[in-house]
């Protein structure tokens, strides 16, 4: 490590107050500057922060975007999810590989490029997409790859790839992204005009308890997918003892196929921040953290600018809007590539500077959250709803949607349809209605709620999106008849194995076993008893896993088995001789045969 790097790291640690809880900011900073966090860097950071070195290594090795080994100047990360796979992932991967002259997870000898894949980056409505360092490149095709790489070779600056910026704030000078919003339908709650301070002024005229009561009267439930009543969560947190309390906004939108938060963050950041501030007022918190997934780093400057403007307008900071004693501010915590950090306790771990392991519950965050203090964690969209509830009234909000599911829901629609994008719809909309709205004519299967949700078929299209029927965080992936159901399921299982934190046995091992069996079935090596095997293993993983990841990861297999049994049955064969179909003798001797220079000699009589 040279002097410059040493001094860079020392300064970075100092700028974070040598606070070990700011470890994420430090290692993300080092990775950004040096394309790796070396062993020496870990030693130095550990010494500066007073941490064991292995704790630094633990965090660095946990997050996909951080690495101990040297990466290239430009890190090309091709988005790998089922939608991208449907729209040419393989061809583009090959094109990049040929153009760069390296395979996946390799770095060019000149150190200029590293080529990798990454889990869904929230661009399914403009797939295939990739990250070039922090720059998002969308609508890739194999022809454009050559030009992209040529252009990058010239100055290694991915930002110059953005020739034409997207609509709305994607063209903001602090964003400058080629990303499109694709807002296809604006409902009454999220995508209407909003004047910063409008809701807060009304909220601060109420008592904190009245704010909570409004949220409860509006029957607001969490928009992240689990649907916990927001007002109740706030009440618990308010009631919990703690010198400090925290508000966290979960903008770690990692569920493959979900991208609606990205659009809110781009177009309605004030609605989010205002909701967080109202939450802070309601529960008595002084600090808020918005956890922004690393994939959305391109929005960081813009969001920080928005916070700055809010401070300048007295909407954040000391005595907000002149209300004595109400001090509240927000900082943004960047993630670094870990789906699990969307789980609220893992998100808290990450904010604390730890690897993104979920925490044991109880205690729940409402009792002991960030740094052990009572903490509210809500989704981006939930905070937006809060702002509107206070702005327009609980009654107004509850008029939308259904009795058990009030308000509207943002859906991220992708796959086989003419108009992929973000739709704000009232709860209670049926899948039929939705498919018609998005221009999907020949739909065979719909994945509701992303991989952790469920795959449903035509028999279920009369069902409705709401907490009592098809609950969803917002992902809707649409598949036509010619799609292979098991290929979809395979993509989801690959994802879960990749994203398991590895803390608990059933999730760490069980998902590998599910994935392996699925691969065998797809290779024609399945037998009828495999269905029971998958079911039993899947149920065990769901029941015994420690957090929501393992409690939902078997869903792709379990729901596809329930709704598309033929997709499995047509591949399964009973072996009459009692041989294991998973064992292929020719495959097993292939290497030895190659070494020996001859094939198998049959000794059977």
């Amino acid at each position: 490590m040279n002097l410059a790097e040493r001094s860079f790291i020392t300064k970075l640690c100092q700028s974070c107050g040598k606070d070990p809880h700011r470890l994420m900011d430090i290692i993300i900073g080092v990775q950004g500057a040096y394309a790796r966090v070396s062993g020496d860097a870990m030693n130095l950071i550990a010494a500066e922060l007073g941490l064991p070195r292995v704790d630094v290594e633990s965090a660095v090795s946990f997050y996909q975007f951080l690495s101990k080994e040297q990466k290239g100047h430009v890190r090309i990360r091709l988005c790998d999810d089922i939608i991208d796979r449907m729209y040419g992932f393989d061809r583009i991967l090959k094109a990049f590989s040929e153009e760069l002259g390296i395979g996946l997870n390799q770095t060019t000898p000149d150190g200029k490029f590293t080529f990798e894949t990454t889990a869904c980056i929230g661009m399914c409505d403009q797939a295939p997409a990739a990250l070039m360092n922090n720059v998002v490149v969308t609508n890739l095709n194999s022809d454009s790859v050559h030009d992209l790489v040529e252009s990058l070779r010239k100055n290694l600056n991915p930002e110059q790839l953005v020739k034409k910026t997207g609509n709305g704030n994607n063209s903001h000078p602090l964003v400058r992204a080629m990303v499109q919003n694709n807002i296809r339908r604006r409902g009454p709650v999220i995508f209407q005009d909003f004047t910063p301070g409008e809701a807060l002024r009304k909220g601060l005229a109420m008592s904190p308890m009245e704010v909570i009561r409004s949220v409860k009267t509006a029957r607001l439930r969490g928009r992240g997918g689990a649907g916990f009543p927001t007002g109740m969560k706030w009440e618990f947190t308010r009631a919990a003892a703690g010198d400090r309390k925290f508000i966290m906004c979960n903008a770690d939108e990692g569920e493959p196929g979900t991208f609606k938060d990205r659009v809110i963050l781009t177009e309605k950041p004030n609605l989010i921040f205002e909701g967080m501030t109202l939450a802070g007022y309601a529960i008595g918190a002084g600090e808020g953290i918005l956890y922004l997934r690393g994939e959305y780093t391109y929005l960081l400057d813009f969001l920080n600018e928005t916070l700055k403007e809010r401070r300048a307008s007295g909407l954040l900071g000391k005595s907000i809007l002149g209300k004595d004693g109400f001090d509240f501010d927000i900082r943004i915590q960047l993630g670094a590539g870990a789906y699990i950090c969307g789980e609220e306790t893992a998100l808290i771990s990450s904010c604390e500077g730890l690897r993104g392991d979920p925490k044991n519950r109880p205690p729940f965050p409402a009792q002991k959250g960030y740094l052990g203090y009572p903490t509210v964690v809500n989704n981006v969209e939930t905070f937006c709803c809060v702002s509107r509830i206070i702005e327009h009234g609980a009654g107004w909000f509850a008029e939308h949607g259904t009795k058990g599911s009030s308000g509207t829901k943002l859906l991220s629609v992708s796959g086989d349809c003419r108009m992929p994008g973000v739709y704000e719809v009232p709860f209670g909309i049926s899948i039929h209605e939705l498919l018609e709205m998005v221009g999907a004519d020949d739909t065979y299967a719909v994945q509701i709620g992303g991989p952790s949700g469920q795959l449903i078929g035509r028999a279920d299209f009369q069902r409705t999106i709401c907490f009592d029927d098809l609950a969803t965080g917002g992902a809707v992936m649409i598949f036509d008849e010619d799609r292979d159901v098991l290929e979809i399921v395979q993509a989801f299982m690959d994802f879960f194995v990749h994203e398991s934190c590895g803390y608990c046995t059933p999730c760490r091992v069980g998902n590998v076993l599910l994935k392996k069996k699925l691969e065998e079935i797809r290779a024609g090596k399945g037998e009828p008893s495999d269905l029971e095997y998958l079911k039993s293993l899947g149920e065990t993983i769901k029941a015994t896993s420690r957090c929501g990841l393992g409690q939902t990861s078997p869903n792709p297999i379990l729901t596809s088995m329930a709704h598309f049994p033929d997709a499995y049955l047509k591949l399964l064969h009973e072996d009459k001789q009692g041989y294991q179909p998973t064992f292929d003798l020719d495959e097993a001797v292939a290497t030895a045969a190659r070494i020996a220079g001859h094939g198998r000699v049959h000794h059977e009589d």
Binding site: V54, R355, S500, G502, T505, P506, V509, L537, R546
Partner: protein, 239 residues
């Protein structure tokens, strides 16, 4: 207000102090709840999930879940046993557990649980991962082939020995215990007398030079299932 809570395990009414975990409360009452990552005296981890019970209808880890008044816990139930066996079998196929030459055999808690549950062979395919052995320290080694990621060594070292010699790195199936140093255990302050050494339930973190000291037939789990001590105490006290 009374500081005592009443709840039930498998229909048996039990009293315990408020704040106890299901696992501890059960143990105090002579009921053994199988466990691997749990170790007395260090903070609970909740990672192996072997101690899963059904508490008020929901599967919960007994080692991290506090008892609540009137809680109904199922421990010795078919459904629970099936899940535990599945988890133990997962641990066997995940690593490379060669019991026949492992110094820990007979005293190994993973093996002992398999014995207790009568597991003759796992139903899952062996994964045979490639794992390293950290053999650089003069007195101590880690064989990652045998590690079940229970964090007992990490927690014991930090909480009892007051040392920061171990931690977890990587994630998912690649997660592993790592030394607090660039080049393995030899660069750390771990010592053969550390409590952490005794904490490993399997043969992963082991002392050198002292294998196979106890002959077959005299080892901890040769004759009686793991947990018998807890269950025996209960029998003795009811007599």
């Amino acid at each position: 207000m009374s500081n005592t809570i009443t709840f039930s395990i498998d229909g048996k009414e039990i009293e315990c102090k408020a704040g106890r975990t299901i696992l501890d409360a059960a143990e105090e009452n002579g009921i053994y709840i199988p466990r691997l990552c749990h170790r007395k005296g260090v903070s609970p981890h909740g990672s192996c999930r072997v101690c899963t019970v059904i508490a008020n209808g929901k599967p919960m880890a007994a080692c991290t879940t506090p008892v609540t008044p009137g809680m109904v816990v199922e421990n010795d139930a078919e459904e629970v046993t099936a899940m535990r066996k599945a988890i133990i079998e997962m641990l066997f196929v995940e690593g490379n557990h060669f019991c026949m030459f492992c110094e820990k055999s007979g005293n190994c808690e993973l093996q002992a649980l398999a014995y207790r549950f009568g597991i003759a062979a796992p139903r899952y395919p062996y994964l045979f991962p490639h794992r390293e052995i950290d053999f650089g320290h003069p007195d101590v080694f880690i064989d990652h082939n045998r590690c079940i990621l229970c964090a007992r060594c990490i927690r014991t070292s930090r909480e009892i020995d007051g040392k920061e010699v171990l931690g977890f790195v990587e994630r998912g199936p690649r997660k592993k215990v790592a030394a607090n140093a660039e080049h393995g255990l030899r660069e750390t302050e771990i010592a053969v007398g550390d409590e952490a050494m005794a904490a490993c339930p399997v043969g992963a973190l082991m002392p050198k030079h002292v294998g196979y000291q106890v002959p077959i037939g005299k080892r901890e789990f040769d004759h009686e299932p793991i947990g018998s001590d807890i269950e025996k105490e209960a029998k003795a006290s009811t007599k």
